[in-house]
Symmetry: C2
Subunit: 290 residues, 2 copies
């Protein structure tokens, strides 16, 4: 790859840039495009990108790949803006947390060129944001999911896969729908549950007293409730169907727990807690890098 254009040089885009720069034989010329002039300037000053641009036509000239690493809500606008400047060999990919919606944007906006689009989702870096937090090892041993369709060009899939593997990531291909179901369960559901718990407590008359006595269990359980409200509004709406199904399944699980408790069914409670704690501790043991 000779030239990579990154839209949104924040934590994700910036970390991709830094990781690729470290891989000497691969290192492309990297152009950052964005509306936040000051963050592009920081990226340039930090040496994360080689060039900053607000001219999409010039930025895309001779580009092998375009990586969209902005909030997902900006993706349609960016696809519309780049479309006139794409050639039949420009590969386009993204880093959004939901994939069915992004594929549908690509299909509707890019038309035939959507065969050159590969949806992607790197599973890393929720805690910090901004290019100042970018680092070349963010994706080391982390999962990246790609969601090609039957129409996606093989060379596009391979190029995006190579890009992420160069960043040190483990790449898995699956359908957008599988991706969205899996992440509804392991990511979107816990986020909504954490937001719900904090909202539940924060809106009570004795909220201050409750928060005074909240300790480390509460701290960890609710850490993800400190995440960006805009981002999670967009993810929730984009993955509405899978998420509603997860919320219903979870409510049934909680109702089941309530019944055990109402019946003082000590054996069933202990069995459920044991299954959960065994599964959780086994997961933690084999996922120490997460």
């Amino acid at each position: 790859m000779k030239k990579l254009v990154i839209f949104g040089v924040g934590l994700i885009g910036g970390s991709v840039a830094l990781a690729l720069k470290k891989a000497n034989q691969y290192a492309p010329h990297i152009v950052g495009v964005g509306r936040g002039e000051s963050s592009l300037k920081i990226a340039l000053d930090l040496g994360v990108i080689d060039e900053a641009s607000d001219n999409i036509e010039q930025a895309l000239k001779g580009a092998d790949m375009v990586l969209i690493a902005t909030p997902v809500a900006q993706t349609p606008e960016i696809l519309r803006a780049i479309k006139p400047h794409l050639t039949t060999s420009t590969i386009i990919t993204d880093a959004g947390s939901t994939k069915s919606d992004v594929l549908s944007y690509a299909h509707n906006i890019l038309g035939n060129l959507s065969a050159q689009f590969v949806g992607g989702h790197p599973i890393a870096g929720a805690e910090k944001s901004g290019v100042s937090a970018a680092n070349s090892e963010l994706f080391l041993n982390k999962n990246v999911v790609l969601t090609p369709t039957d129409e996606t060009q093989l060379n596009a899939i391979n190029a995006v896969q190579e890009m992420w593997q160069t960043c040190g990531a483990k790449v898995t291909n699956m359908t957008a729908s599988s991706h969205d179901s899996i992440f509804a369960a392991v990511s979107h559901l816990p986020h909504l549950l954490a937001f719900a718990l904090v909202n539940d407590l924060a809106t009570r008359p004795n909220a201050d007293q409750l928060f005074d006595f909240a300790a480390s269990g509460f701290r960890d359980f609710t850490r993800i409730a400190g995440s960006s409200p805009e981002m999670w509004r967009d993810i929730s709406l984009a993955n509405k169907t899978a998420l509603l199904s997860e919320l219903s399944t979870y409510q049934a699980e909680v109702s089941n727990l309530k019944t055990m408790l109402e019946n003082e069914d000590a054996a069933s409670l202990q069995a459920l807690f044991e299954r959960a704690s065994l599964a959780r501790n086994a997961w933690a043991k084999s996922n120490e890098n997460k």
Copy 2:
């Protein structure tokens, strides 16, 4: 205080012993009593306690205070065992996570002597267990709740309060019922919700795939689902009424979220996420030591 007898020299009991030993003017002679001979021997070898005993009569001779720091389920048995050896000046306290049940044990078993019993709950140290993890600073700036009743002797309240303050803790008095309501909300509820999420995912046909893609958000949200199943079975049953009420309130909160999502009510979703994330981040900022 000249002599303190600790039942259950694990993380909590051991850390109290170490903290009191450091406070020279206060430091009592500390006797550890327990069934786990090997852990008592470790406590003795580590210098956590001055004496290990399996003879309750001898252990209690001349004791100013008895601290019960075993799992709560053992409390009634210990109260029965110590009762014949208590004098009218022996102060008794505990460190259990639920308080109404413990006060009722004390009332029923100790009779008149229950005026010398002060229920206590140090809010610290859920992650590790065992005397090897004990440290003299475990309670530094941590909350300890005491739950005296109208019958509790003032000198008993003062002595237990002084003991915890010597360990560096902030002591708050409240009724057992307030304690159990507060901790149902900020501790017991999140634990059950985390157990429920892991159990929900672990019992699915594609559990392995789901766990493969679970990342840092899942890790933190579910950390407390790795806690002791026996301990949480006992806490849930002991605090059944308050916990059932919390579970119902939480289910209503989740139903509310579902309705917003079904209606694609972006503004309400964002408002809820914003309230939660502001509250959570404000809490984190003023509770950095938790």
